[in-house]
């Protein structure tokens, strides 16, 4: 039982990181019906950037915000915030640039063209990651205290670490902020309108190009945040991290019903658990096969996902 709860906690942390990336897929699919293959790699670039900012020069980083487990807590919070802001800013701009270069010129092209363009962009980003981070895995030391927070409540059989809490503290507010943004703001309304019908939205005075750019901006920002969280939580990054992670997140988005924000989060949480449970109770080397099997089963039997579609009605 304790083991199961422990696994669920790990799965929850995984799922929250997936959720940030899955939202990027779902937003973009909802608005331009493109599976943005490069999105996982934007996440990878985010984690490489934050690696560079955090890791000391001795291990190949830039050492700008060299955070170690010895850093005093207030300074650490400020440094993490700084890393977040810089990484998120860079990946957001990167994603907008990707849209501008690789997708916007193909807005009226046959649908296969942007998909292949996205695959090409994914290759480009992976190679950029390879150039900056090298062919091998890059690791940083865990910066968080390893004490079990639950031991303060007298529970020792299940572990809840600071790094897991950190994942929640960063991701959950972002998820709520995004939901609020899309549901309540003027720009969010423009996004929903464009997702419904770009032509009509354009006639109604929505600047479609700008709305799509903002969608990519948000998606990139979330992917960057996920990159920071993942390097601080898993302490590892590598140039091809984006492919598998991206597929997991995309699966999550499809599971929830692509185009649907809440669905993406729900799907991500489920997928986080699938990963954790499979790692723990099945065998880690079957996990990827299981994830794909889930993806195929959903697409074949319930292509609209668990929550159907809300952001877009078209897919």
């Amino acid at each position: 039982m304790d083991q199961l709860i422990q696994t669920l906690i790990i799965g929850l942390a995984n799922g929250l990181i997936f959720a940030l990336v899955a939202l990027g897929y779902t937003l973009v699919y909802g608005i331009i019906e493109l599976i943005n293959f490069a999105h996982g790699d934007v996440f990878m670039i985010g984690s490489v950037i934050s690696y560079g900012l955090i890791a000391p020069k001795s291990s190949g980083g830039l050492g700008i915000f060299e955070i170690t487990s010895g850093t005093p807590a207030p300074l650490m919070v400020i440094q993490i915030l700084a890393v977040l802001v810089i990484t998120v800013g860079l990946t957001a701009l990167l994603n907008v640039a990707i849209e501008r270069v690789a997708y916007r010129p193909l807005r009226n092209a046959p649908k296969l063209a942007p998909l292949i363009s996205a695959i090409g962009m994914s290759f480009v980003l992976q190679n950029i990651g390879l150039i900056f981070a090298g062919p091998n895995q890059r690791t940083i030391d865990n910066i968080f205290p390893t004490t079990n927070l639950l031991s303060y409540f007298g529970i020792n059989s299940v572990q809840l670490t600071v790094s897991q809490v950190f994942v929640g503290v960063v991701t959950v507010p972002l998820l709520f902020a995004l939901t609020w943004f899309v549901a309540k703001t003027r720009q969010g309304r423009a996004m929903r309108a464009t997702a419904q019908d770009p032509a009509t939205a354009g006639l109604m005075g929505v600047d479609v190009n700008r709305t799509i750019a903002i969608t990519f901006l948000i998606g990139g920002a979330l992917a960057g945040a996920a990159g920071v969280v993942q390097i601080l939580y898993n302490n590892v990054t590598v140039w091809n991290l984006g492919f598998r992670f991206g597929l997991n997140s995309f699966t999550a988005a499809v599971l929830g019903g692509i185009g649907n924000l809440k669905g993406a989060v729900l799907g991500a949480l489920i997928l986080g658990q699938v990963n954790a449970l499979s790692d723990r109770y099945l065998q880690a080397n079957w996990t990827n096969a299981l994830v794909f099997a889930v993806l195929i089963a959903i697409l074949v039997f319930r292509p609209t996902g668990l929550l159907g579609q809300q952001l877009a009605d078209r897919a």
Binding site: E33, L34, I35, V101, A102, P105, L106, A109, P110, K111, L112, A113, P114, L115, I116, S117, I119, G120, M121, S122, F123, V124, L125, Q126, N127, I128, L130, I131, F243, L247, F250, V254, Q283, N285, W286, N288, A289, F292, A293, L295, I296, L299, V300, P303, R314, A315
Partner: protein, 460 residues
């Protein structure tokens, strides 16, 4: 030729083949007369391509080694050119003719390779399974050993079956949903080969009892080796890595079969049905095309080419591991057909040859020269993916139809003795330059599924 000249029975078939071959000479003379430049250029190209493996191996390689380094593909690279060209032709059937985007084509390549490994290696000896039939091994060699010439047809049948099996669940899906599901299959299949190295299970099905205890089915991470090389009896030729340029010609032979089969399929009822589905699946169905059957045939027949390629690759290298078969290989083959001109058999072959050349010869060559003469510059081989990626981006932006796009099918008409159609036409034959979209992609794009509400189906 009129309908009455075609008789029935095998005799008529041989006569037809004979007259077709005889007609080739005639057609060639006609080509020489009507479009001399093109015909001569093509003849020279074909001759160079056919002679190159021999010439390169015998003279050019030594020249490049001793006198002046040139970016020359070696025997192995040339063999892989033929292997990838065969795969490109197969993927072109699925993605080019039928318009079904398959991002997991590597799965079939892997299955083909493992079929060869299962049927011609000592692998099963550990299970006490020893069987030799016409294999090029000494009697008493452990394991199963069938000759390559049996392995290939078996691989084709097995892979085609898997093609249909994996295709079946995707029949309702369109566009990028289909792409993702096939991608999933492409990831699962190599994982299965990688992971089934310690299978423990016990199943009782009525009288049939299966029980295994940590049985190595697939060789796991190490894969399976050694695999028997293709062997030509009488001439006593073993087509392995030490056989110089000979494996290239075996590859070319297999490639020619692939071209013939693909062309015959393209110019037939099934080829037209595939293209109709690609252009407008609903309309095709309304015109009497059995879309389920036709799509399954595309998956099965398209996959079978990867079966040939995989079986040959494994037999030629004498080994197979699941690492050969990852997503980037699927994408590589896809890039080959997009680069060459999706839908056009000759285009996709050129795409395959070009890409293997760039990947395996040109980039390493440039890297070597940079190392030699300007070691401070970065090695371009590191930018392999970058170059591929940028190529894709530029292609999609500026020439989405590829370098040799699918042409008007003029030859077919003349081949069937209907030259008068051509003669009566008031318009030139190559109309395809006016089109912006590559074939296979309607301008409106593809929707994910058949419309289900009256709203979506309004315009039907």
């Amino acid at each position: 030729m009129t309908a009455s000249t075609i008789g029935t029975g095998p005799g008529a078939w041989f006569r037809h083949i004979g007259s077709t071959v005889a007609g080739l000479g005639q057609a060639y003379r006609a080509g020489l007369r009507d479009r001399p430049k093109r015909t001569v250029a093509l003849s020279v190209l074909v001759a160079v391509l056919l002679l190159y493996p021999y010439v390169a191996h015998t003279w050019l390689a030594a020249f490049s080694r001793n006198v002046f380094p040139l970016p020359l593909p070696d025997d192995t690279v040339e063999t892989f050119m033929t292997i990838f060209a065969i795969m490109a032709i197969g993927l072109n059937i699925v993605a080019g003719f039928a318009g079904l985007l398959d991002l997991g084509y590597v799965a079939f390549y892997a299955i083909g390779a493992y079929v060869a490994a299962f049927l011609a290696s000592p692998h099963w000896a550990t299970l006490g399974l020893n069987f030799i039939f016409l294999g090029n091994v000494d009697q008493g060699t452990p394991g199963v050993h069938l000759p390559f010439w049996i392995v290939v047809p078996v691989a084709v049948i097995v892979v085609a079956t898997f093609g249909a099996l994996l295709g079946a669940p995707t029949l309702r899906l369109r566009g990028d949903y289909l792409a993702i599901v096939t991608l999933g299959f492409g990831e699962i299949v190599p994982l299965v080969f990688k992971n089934l190295s310690q299978v423990t299970l016990s199943v009782v099905l009525g009288p049939l009892k299966i029980s295994m205890d940590r049985v190595d089915l697939t060789g796991g991470v190490q894969g399976i080796n050694p695999i028997d090389s293709p062997f030509l009896p009488f001439l006593n030729i073993k087509f392995d890595a030490r056989a110089g340029f000979l494996p290239v010609y075996l590859g070319i032979f297999l490639l020619l079969i692939a071209v013939l089969v693909a062309r015959n399929l393209e110019h037939s009822r099934i080829g037209r049905a595939w293209m109709a589905i690609r252009e407008d699946e609903t309309a095709a169905e309304m015109m009497g095309v059995n879309t389920v059957r036709t799509k399954l045939l595309a998956f099965a027949l398209g996959a079978s080419f990867a079966g040939i390629a995989g079986a040959y690759q494994a037999s030629y290298l004498g080994a197979t591991t699941s690492d050969f078969f990852d997503f980037s290989t699927s994408i590589l083959v896809l890039i080959m057909i997009i680069l060459g001109g999706i839908g056009n058999i000759w285009g996709v072959i050129m795409g395959a040859i070009t890409l293997v050349f760039v990947n395996s010869t040109l980039l390493p060559y440039i890297g070597q020269q940079v190392q030699n003469y300007a070691p401070s510059l970065p090695n371009p081989a590191q930018y392999n993916f970058l170059i591929l990626g940028v190529t894709l981006l530029l292609m999609m932006r500026f020439r989405p139809q590829g370098f040799l796009p699918s042409r008007q099918r003029e030859a077919e008409l003349t081949a069937h003795g209907l030259a008068h159609v051509e003669a009566e036409m008031g318009v030139p034959l190559d109309m395809d330059n006016t089109s912006v979209a590559p074939p296979g992609q309607s301008e409106t794009g593809m929707d994910a599924r058949a419309p289900e509400t009256p709203d979506e189906a309004r315009d039907l």
